[in-house]
Amino acid sequence: MTRYLPFPLLSLGLMVIWLLMNQTLAPAHILLGATLGVIGGRLLHKLQLPPTGFKRPVAAARLAARVFADIARSNVAVARIILLPKTRNASSGFVDISLRMRSPYGLACLACIITAAPGTCWVDYDPNKNLLRIHVLDLIDEQAWKATVTHRYETLLMEIFE
């Protein structure tokens, strides 16, 4: 099992993507997708990645819901800044946040979340000091952004990956 499918979830995901792209459930395509999944998993195994430690699907769902809501809110906020620049009362700037999380997968997820949300962008990360620097378009309160990242995202991500 672990020899042929070192990453079963990833292999399954690859097969599902293949079937979705071809929009079919024909046996031939299932076989092809499964082959793709096995090859993909084994290639990834060659990279000798650390285990993901993913264990809390419920926490992951809660995080996803939170992120979707936050992205909706920041979409509106950024659209307002662009379309009504006169109403803007803050300028942009950098925020340095010291993190507790060390898991590379958690950090990758955090990077995707921060960058995917309009108005914030992951700029730099210092692994020695575990210090993250983000750029915020509408920087009113630096402390509020630090609290958002650490309390809203980091704690849940640590629950999921650590």
Partner: protein
Amino acid sequence: MMIDADLPLWLATLIALCLLVGAALSLTGSIGLLRLKTFFERIHSPTLATSYGTAGVVLASILYFSALQSRLVVHELLIGLFVTLTTPVTLMVLARAVLHRDRYGDKTRAPGDERRSTTKR
């Protein structure tokens, strides 16, 4: 593709709404690229198009073709997946390249030394 007259009004309205919201967000993102002044401000505006701009259009497409073909058409979700996974990589590479230029370039100051970016392009 012909417009199906059998589509119920509420569904057609919903699809049109999704499509318009998605398109409006994408357009706003593009306007932002023109309007915002510095690089680090501009880097935020395309994310409008890649987050709910894409989501709106994808949702409209899923609803429309699912109703038209009377089956669940969801392969558009892959567009959302790929866009969400690839955009952060592009933006981070861009941001770090500019950070590097600001730090080691001869004209502008490093963002680390200044709270506000003075990057001009």
